[in-house]
């Protein structure tokens, strides 16, 4: 693949590119799913191709192909240059990039057990055991489970002289129990909803997740939800479980700090951001106990946003985002760093495959832990609701007004969990919400959650992002907001 990339780079430069980079990728995925005692989907996918990104006549062009013949590669590179020249017909100024040094390196994410070597029978066997355990609870009408393994082997070459090979292995797994009854549909998922938990790890993640041990509890909870009380409407103190808080971080911090949104690049689709440039280092984004980083470095953990170099060849970094409540950092690229007068790209350019251009994406956007256990946090809460596992999520196109629903909640009275609550929901304005945070649990409660399918860009791209979070409490939050009309 390196040779294809090198040929494409040469052709791009000789065709007139003043800058060029090439990503050549070998991608592999294996996916299993089970449903009500049967294997419902077993699929293998492999995909190989390259994408050529160039600047010519001061504008960007990109072309991609899976025709890896010499002619195919040359045509692709020349096409990228032709596209750049067409872009120049409607440019306002030449593209400028913040400087970076060339890098020659090879990095592979840690992977103790190669998931692609696991026997299919072992994977299906585990999912079917979980399935049987859930369906052993009367009232469960649908049991679903899945495992997902991905390997991305990428060569990055640039006209700066970079030659970087990165190999990342991703693993994900999860299951859910659905119950139809009492005129409603309820669902409970483990370890997280919408596919489960994902990390940049091998099959060892599956072994760490304790899937089977939690199956019966999940099934019992979904049935119990039918007779649980409806989440009340009003203003309450809310404790968010770590997985739900991960998505809260994603939507109300991770997306607004993407500098391309701030600068208007996503205005037609994913939207813009309230974090306009003058708010950097001036906006009190959150309460003083809140510290958030965007950290792609392996030492932060095996998150979906972990890598050594981004897809522009810029080293992955730890970018402080919120420091003691103050907004201090964006996710940026080499081009947007110049526009916003930043000293350097934060190394956040990521592409979904060989056929997509890199755009600014979250890495691991994590809330740093505080202190204490979840049970201590509950004990210190007089009147509140603990909400766990996301069920719905929505936010406006500048990232102010949000609303979330979770699968399950528990009322907290006098420091104790009391009744189970169904259909919990809460909403607010991002900065007001984060400024109401008054307690964050400690490292023992912190997990690096994975969101595998974040959508952005045109044409659409999906990306895995990581979010470290421990449960946290927020004061005076509007709850029950989704059912106000009922």
């Amino acid at each position: 693949m390196k040779d294809f990339a090198a040929r494409a780079l040469d052709t791009a430069v000789t065709s007139g590119a003043t800058y060029a980079d090439v990503r050549a990728i070998d991608y592999r995925q294996r996916y299993f799913s089970t449903k009500n005692g049967q294997a419902s989907g077993v699929r293998d996918l492999e995909s190989q191709g390259l994408g050529v990104r160039v600047i010519a006549d001061g504008a960007w062009g990109f072309a991609s192909t899976d025709d890896l013949s010499c002619d195919g590669v040359d045509r692709c590179a020349a096409r990228a240059v032709a596209i750049a020249r067409a872009s120049a017909r409607a440019k306002r100024h030449d593209v400028q990039l913040a400087p970076e040094d060339p890098v020659v390196d090879h990095w592979e994410s840690a992977c103790a057990i190669d998931p692609f070597t696991m026997p299919v029978s072992v994977c299906l066997d585990l999912l079917l055991k979980v399935d049987a355990e859930m369906r052993g609870v009367k009232g469960v009408t649908l049991a679903e489970g899945s495992m997902d393994f991905r390997r991305i082997d990428q060569w990055f070459l640039s006209s700066l002289g970079s030659e970087i090979r990165q190999v990342r292995t991703l693993t994900g797994a999860g299951y859910s129990a659905t119950s139809f009854g009492e005129g409603e549909i309820q669902k409970r998922s483990f370890p997280n909803s919408f596919g489960g938990q994902y990390q940049t790890k091998g099959y060892e993640l599956i072994e760490e997740l304790n899937l089977l041990a939690n199956a019966r509890r999940i099934a019992e909870e979904v049935v119990a939800l039918h007779t649980a009380d409806q989440c009340p409407q009003g203003v309450k103190d809310v404790i968010l479980g770590g997985a739900q808080l991960g998505l809260q971080i994603h939507e109300s911090i991770g997306h607004p700090i993407e500098l391309d949104r701030v600068l208007g690049d996503e205005a037609n689709y994913a939207g813009m951001s309230f974090l306009t440039l003058e708010k950097l280092n001036t906006l009190k984004y959150a309460s003083g106990i809140v510290n958030v980083v965007a950290d792609a470095r392996p030492e932060h953990g095996p998150g979906l946003g972990t890598f050594r170099y981004d897809d522009e060849g810029v080293p992955g970094q730890c970018t402080p985002v919120i420091h003691e409540g103050l907004f201090v950092g964006y996710l940026s690229s080499r081009e947007s760093a110049v526009t916003a007068n930043l000293p350097r790209s934060s190394g956040a350019m990521r592409a979904d495959g060989w056929n997509r251009i890199p755009i600014i994406r979250m890495t691991n956007v994590s809330l740093l832990p505080g202190a204490g256990k979840l049970e201590d946090l509950i004990a210190s809460t007089d009147d509140g609701i603990l909400m766990e596992t996301n069920r719905s999520w929505s936010i406006d196109d500048r990232r102010y007004n949000f609303q979330f629903g979770t699968e399950i909640g528990w009322e907290i009275k006098g420091g104790k969990r009391t009744r189970m609550l169904k259909n919990p929901s809460y909403g607010g304005i991002s900065t007001e919400f984060w400024n109401s945070c008054d307690a964050i649990c400690g490292p023992e409660e912190w997990t690096l959650w994975g969101t595998p399918n974040c959508g952005k860009g045109q044409p659409a791209q999906l990306m895995g992002t990581g979010h470290g979070a421990a449960p946290a409490r927020f004061r005076n939050v509007k709850v029950g907001v989704a059912y106000g009309a009922e």
Binding site: R43, S87, L142, R398, A485
Partner: protein, 445 residues
């Protein structure tokens, strides 16, 4: 290079040389696509892709699995066929699995426009430049996309089934941004000549200008006029519930409701890939011919759609809406047509004493799967209506609304048109006037 019928047959022939499965199905998809993206009144991203994938489903006894690749050399095809069979052999036996279908007859659909295939980056750049000019003339900022492409799908199996479909697709979408407000318009279709980018730009610009300095309206229940894009993006959260398997598995909002009058009597909904304003192949993921299915008639949930295996389980006839096997979902209607009425949006506005005119909706998500409550935001052109006239822009609002209730509260509809949004696939739907649409909060812009 886009896939031809001959090349597709050659690839299948190669597959049959190497596959030793009891039954073999091969799906070959090929895409050539280019997109010119603009923001801040300049082209900032400009991309093109070219890809061909071969996907083999192998059957061994009552066991099946699928493997896919875009490596099309003989050694890779051999490896793919072997891999699909090996995976299939490792599955538990599925007693409900049917043999593959035999040869089928398909109605011809002509959705290929060579002029659209032939569009160049320069053509798209000139289109975008003209739209940017329109923005600048009103001191607005334009953002959007101009795209075109060709896609081909071929499906063969070892029982002699052969299916082939090719079509072009083009899109123009534009957001016009002013200091305090924005407007949006979008159109897609197989023939780029029908998109009228300058007309879309004009519409978006007028919305941006007319909604400047938006006022805040209190949350509550309002009469709304939903433009077709807003209707489409809401309806998209309902259509997967018309799957026979979803109802059988009790995960659909139509569970225990088929045959009931669930919506207003004016609601007529069908799935119809043959409608002249639709795109798509006349066959499903197994090669079964797609049928026209009346989903809702006079507000009554009349029919569902069924893949072959769902149909067999439930003792009904398949309708040709199955996804490629194996899959978790069964089937879904993908070519929605909702009948409408005769009233224009202007007439609906004139008939409204107090309400809101909504251009589009955003970040819609399902809150309650059985009551079918969805939430989301208005976006890019939301106007107050008073005494039959629009009175300027309003700040965007969040809604929490049951779609079942909404479709029971429709007071007027316009003629159906091909609409495009961002939350769902294209549909042919009307604008509609709906009473008592529930807004629960407002945002800051």
């Amino acid at each position: 290079m886009i896939l031809t019928r001959q090349r597709a047959q050659e690839l299948f022939h190669e597959v049959t040389k190497y596959s030793t499965a009891d039954e073999t199905e091969a799906t070959i998809t090929s895409n050539q696509y280019a997109l010119t993206r603009f923001a801040n009144n300049a082209i900032h991203q400009n991309v093109a892709e070219d890809s061909t994938y071969l996907s083999i489903r192998a059957v061994a006894g009552q066991r099946t699995a699928r493997a896919s690749t875009n490596k099309l050399d003989p050694a890779s095809i051999r490896r793919l066929a072997e891999s699909a069979l090996e995976l299939a052999r490792l599955q538990p036996r599925d007693p409900d699995m049917l043999p593959m279908p035999g040869p089928q007859m398909y109605r011809a659909l002509d959705r290929l426009y060579p002029e659209t295939s032939a569009l160049t980056p320069e053509d798209r750049a000139l289109t975008v430049a003209a739209v940017i000019g329109r923005a600048e003339s009103d001191h607005l900022t334009a953002a959007g996309v101009c795209s075109s492409g060709t896609s081909v799908m071929a499906l063969f199996n070892s029982r002699g089934l052969k299916a082939f479909h090719e079509e072009t697709i083009s899109e123009f979408s534009v957001t016009m941004l002013g200091e305090t407000a924005s407007g949006w318009a979008k159109k897609t279709g197989p023939n780029h000549l029908e998109l009228d980018p300058e007309g879309l730009a004009d519409r978006a610009a007028r919305k941006a200008l007319a909604s400047a300095d938006p006022k805040e309206m209190a949350p509550g229940r309002y009469t709304v006029i939903l433009e077709p894009a807003a209707v489409l993006d809401l309806l998209g959260f309902m259509v997967f519930d018309f799957s026979g398997l979803a109802v059988a598995e009790k995960r659909s909002s139509l569970t225990d409701r088929v045959g009931q009058k669930l919506f207003g009597a004016a609601i007529e909904l069908r799935d119809d890939v043959f409608h002249p304003l639709h795109l798509g192949a006349p066959f499903d993921g197994e090669g079964v011919p797609r049928q026209r299915v009346q989903l809702v008639e006079h507000g009554v949930v009349k029919n569902l759609v069924y893949a072959r295996s769902t149909a067999r389980k439930l003792g009904v006839e398949p309708t040709g809406h199955g996804f490629p096997l194996p899959n978790e979902y069964g089937e879904a209607p993908m070519n929605i047509v909702m009948e409408g009425g005769r009233q224009s949006v202007e007439e609906m506005v004139r008939s409204t004493e107090r309400g809101l005119l909504i251009t589009r909706l955003w970040y819609i998500r399902e809150v309650d799967p059985y009551r079918k409550i969805v939430t989301g935001m208005t976006r890019d052109g939301t106007f107050a209506i008073e005494n039959g006239e629009t009175r300027g822009g309003v700040r965007n609002l969040r809604f929490n609304q049951s779609l079942i209730e909404m479709l029971s509260n429709v007071e007027m509809m316009g003629p159906p048109e091909r609409a495009a949004g961002e939350e769902s696939f294209e549909m042919v739907v009307p604008a509609m006037k709906v009473r008592d649409f529930n807004f629960s909060s407002v945002t800051k812009f």
